[in-house]
């Protein structure tokens, strides 16, 4: 491929690629996100490839391994374009049938369709599935349409047209003004207005004019993977956003700080960068516009705290990943002391959309203070696990019930934890809360990077708080006292409570200590770490009290406070529990009720899970 050296050539190429896509040829899109990979998407893709080769159908059908479609619960997902027939849980053995029936004869294979658990109906098309139909997939929608390793695909759907628009039609100041007007706020957790950050960075003095741009892809929240899926599924949108940022801010060097634990993201991003360079969309004098910009990938060493911008910069510079006090903010004094603009993956991916469709259009989506859409990773005790992109201001109820499909097993919804490990737990009583930056903060949680963990009645809130505090204690850099020692002591107290050693006054002590950690910690990790404790105490104080006063765990989770016994009336003496018990703690004659030896029992819960007669009781 020859380098594109003018706007005209880029537009010509975009047009011809778009035309090729318009052909009536069928296209099979196999989801190649990490979730579907785990389900065996690679084998499905290979099976399709072999089958197409075997039947010599290469000119009749296209095959594409795309990025994540979001509906990870039902992987491996296969969508047949242009009809948008969607098959779920596809296995390699289904492939020949799909080719024969759906591609050649345009028949629908009923058994591979998605069944709506609410109505029991089989749904044929992707856009009709409630999980998708209630979303607004601005940023994430292209994932299913393109092969992330092909820049041609991205160009064919209009990719890099936002870049050409800013390079040839807009002044840098106008770009910043546009971003400011759009109301875009940082999607990584802080929620700082991106336009103002860009402007600060552009206006910050830099003696030799060097300014840096960083994409923060150090996504470490448990259960969150939206940045991962964007980088894996649509890396060019992030690169395009960064290019626009570079033009607006006046930078010619960028970095993507990405977790090394995301091998596919690193790989796809590397391919994308290489392709962009090949096409002349990155490097010296891009499209003869005068803009020179290149991006380097820097892989993180696995520290959660490096997602904090000052720690990230320290790590990029080759120092220990430790936060420092801000101000000076990185926008003024960042990487190697130069003005540096850091934005999260999702923020960068929003930029081309704002430029293409205009700030006014963008700012119509969302609430007063929070504009646009947000990708959430909906996980936990929910029917439709996956990535969902919704407009700001949507109610939690809509996310959980309409998109998420409710709680599995007919259990009751108890709480939802938003914003990663340092977010708060929002109880059922606030389920009609509108999701935006301010509202979440008001109820003691936060937007964070967009993790949403749904919990049902079988979740113990003290145990949940303990889990998150443990995570944060391990991930704290250990520099400042409140975060290092404070979180460790909070964990001690919580451990005592869950082991039945809680004392009167522990809740008050927790509250006092947590508020000091929140108020006095050096960086945002410590400043938000007490959220899970404070919010669970705020909304589930009675659960703490029952643990402390009655030495009981109402959700039967805390091992020290529960005992497994067998209900003699229900036990049929099948013996499966006795056979599988790792401690050999269960005994009994065949066809006679069994017994659990409490001394031996390690409360692993295996017998309860195995028993078909619900004879194992937890008390």
């Amino acid at each position: 491929m020859k380098k594109l050296n003018s706007l005209f050539k880029l537009q010509k190429l975009q047009e011809s690629l778009a035309e090729q896509r318009e052909s009536p040829k069928s296209c099979i899109a196999v989801c190649g996100g990490t979730g579907c990979y785990a389900y065996g998407a690679k084998d499905v893709h290979k099976a399709f490839k072999d089958e197409i080769k075997r039947q010599r159908m290469k000119d009749k059908v296209d095959l594409m391994l795309t990025g994540c479609h979001g509906f990870c619960e039902c992987g491996t997902l296969v969508v047949i374009h242009p009809e948008e027939i969607m098959y779920v849980r596809v296995m390699p053995e289904d492939v020949s049938e799909i080719i024969k029936e759906s591609v050649l004869k345009k028949n629908i294979i009923e058994r591979l369709l998605y069944i709506d658990p609410a109505s029991g109906e089989r749904i044929k098309y992707e856009h009709e599935i409630p999980f998708y139909s209630r979303q607004q997939r601005l940023v994430f929608g292209s994932n299913g349409l393109i092969d992330p390793t092909s820049i041609e695909d991205y160009l064919a759907i209009g990719g890099y047209s936002a870049l050409s628009k800013v390079l040839f039609d807009m002044k840098p100041e106008e770009v910043i003004e546009e971003i400011k007007k759009s109301g875009l706020r940082g999607r990584g957790g802080g929620g700082f207005p991106s336009g103002i950050k860009w402007e600060t960075c552009r206006d910050a003095p830099s003696p030799n004019g060097t300014r840096y741009i960083i994409c923060n892809a150090d996504e470490g929240d448990p259960g969150a993977y939206m940045d991962r899926s964007l980088l894996e599924g649509n890396p060019h949108s992030v690169i395009e956003g960064m290019l626009i940022g570079a033009y607006a801010i006046g930078s010619n060097k960028g970095y993507v700080y990405v977790r090394n634990e995301y091998p596919l993201a690193v790989k796809n991003l590397g391919i994308a960068l290489e392709q962009a360079r090949e096409y002349g969309l990155m490097g010296e004098d891009i499209l003869s516009s005068g803009l020179s910009f290149d991006v380097k990938i820097s892989r993180g060493g696995g520290a959660f705290v490096c997602g904090e911008e000052s720690a990230l910069i320290a790590s990029l510079e080759g120092r220990m990943g430790e936060p420092r006090r801000r101000p000076p903010y990185p926008a003024v004094k960042g990487l190697w002391g130069k003005p540096t603009n850091i934005n999260n993956v999702e923020t960068w991916a929003n930029v081309p959309i704002i430029i293409n469709r205009g700030a006014e259009w963008y700012s119509r989506i969302g609430t007063k203070g929070s504009k646009g859409t947000k990708i959430f990773s909906l996980v936990g005790k929910i029917n439709n696990t996956g990535l969902v992109e919704v407009p700001m201001g949507i109610k939690l109820r809509e996310i959980i019930y309409d998109i998420g499909g409710g709680i599995p097993g007919g259990k009751r919804f108890k709480a939802i934890q938003t914003g990663g490990p340092s977010g708060g737990c929002i109880p059922e009583s606030l389920i009609d809360l509108q999701v935006d930056y301010e509202k979440l903060k008001e109820v003691g949680s936060m937007m964070g990077s967009g993790g949403m963990i749904v919990m049902d009645e079988s979740t113990c809130m003290v145990d949940i708080a303990k889990y998150f505090v443990k995570f944060l204690t391990e991930e704290s850099c250990g520099k400042c006292v409140p975060c290092r020692e404070g979180l460790d002591r909070i964990l001690d107290i919580l451990t005592d409570i869950t082991e039945g050693n809680g004392k009167e006054g522990d809740i008050e002590l927790l509250e006092e200590l947590a508020s000091v950690v929140k108020d006095t910690s050096l960086c945002a990790l410590g400043g938000t770490a007490p959220n899970p404790i404070l919010s669970t105490i705020r909304y589930f104080r009675d659960e703490y009290e029952i643990h402390i006063k009655e030495h009981r765990c109402p959700a039967t989770v805390c091992k020290a406070l529960i005992a497994f016994t067998i209900n003699e009336d229900k036990c049929t003496g099948c013996g499966i529990c006795a056979k599988k018990c790792p401690q050999e703690a269960i005994s009994g004659e065949k066809k006679e009720p069994h017994k659990i030896d409490q001394e031996q029992c390690i409360k692993c819960g295996l017998c309860r899970d195995l028993c078909k007669f619900d004879a194992v009781i937890v008390s």
Partner: protein, 221 residues
């Protein structure tokens, strides 16, 4: 010069000065541990926290790293500061009860009980030694290793490096090694020793704080 208000006193400070330095300049004493005038500010111990008053709210911040800025309103000894500082001292003592510096600080600020589990690590990770070695001795023989609760001061690969000139500066500057509390039986993590037994006098330098400061008075750098 910029003008700011500390504990109700209007004062001027040159640009680039921290709130801690500005406060000390007018005789207001803010306790510190990881701060040393000869070393770079680090902001780790959080003992020097002050309350920064803004229009609708207030926040706590470490004064040793907080740049003085025009129009700032600072309270160094408000109820909120005192309460948080006491908890921080408690945390420090619970991780290192055998430091005289810490025990003195505890009695000075009225910490009479440590409510947390004592886990004696013999180090508060204030980083004075690390910074002293690097900044004053130009050596960098010691540094931090690990993160979270397993963070510690160590030499690379546990071997005394060539850079170490055995100057002993790290021990000299350490608030724990050099000044060990020799009281035998700690009650609730506290020694209740020397400082508590000495006659208490009020700070001779500043008139605005009513803190008792022990026999030696405020230490002004």
């Amino acid at each position: 010069m910029i003008e700011l208000t500390i504990d109700g006193i209007r004062t001027k400070a040159p640009e680039g000065m921290t709130v801690l330095e500005a406060a000390r300049g007018i005789g207001i004493v803010i306790p510190t541990l990881c701060y040393h005038p000869g070393l770079s500010a680090y902001g780790a111990c959080r003992v020097c926290i002050v309350e920064v008053i803004s229009e609708n709210s207030s926040s706590l911040d470490a004064s040793c790293t907080l740049p003085a800025s025009a129009g700032q309103v600072i309270l160094t000894n408000s109820e909120r500061v005192k309460k948080a500082r006491k908890v921080i001292i408690e945390l420090l003592i619970s991780s290192c009860p055998n430091s005289k510096t810490l025990q003195d600080m505890a009695s000075r600020f009225g910490v009479n009980k440590v409510r947390f589990k004592i886990k004696d690590k013999g180090c508060i990770l204030c980083g004075l030694c690390v910074r002293y070695c690097k900044e004053q001795m130009q050596s960098g023989g010691i540094g931090f290793v690990g993160r979270g609760t397993s963070r510690k001061v160590a030499m690379a690969f546990g071997v005394t490096p060539e850079e170490c000139r055995n100057c002993g500066g790290c021990e000299w500057i350490c608030p724990v090694c050099g000044r060990a509390c020799t009281a035998g039986n700690l009650v609730n993590g506290l020694c209740g020793g020397c400082q508590n037994l000495m006659p208490v006098e009020t700070c001779p330098v500043c008139v605005h704080c009513s803190e008792s400061v022990g026999a030696k008075g405020h230490k002004v750098y």
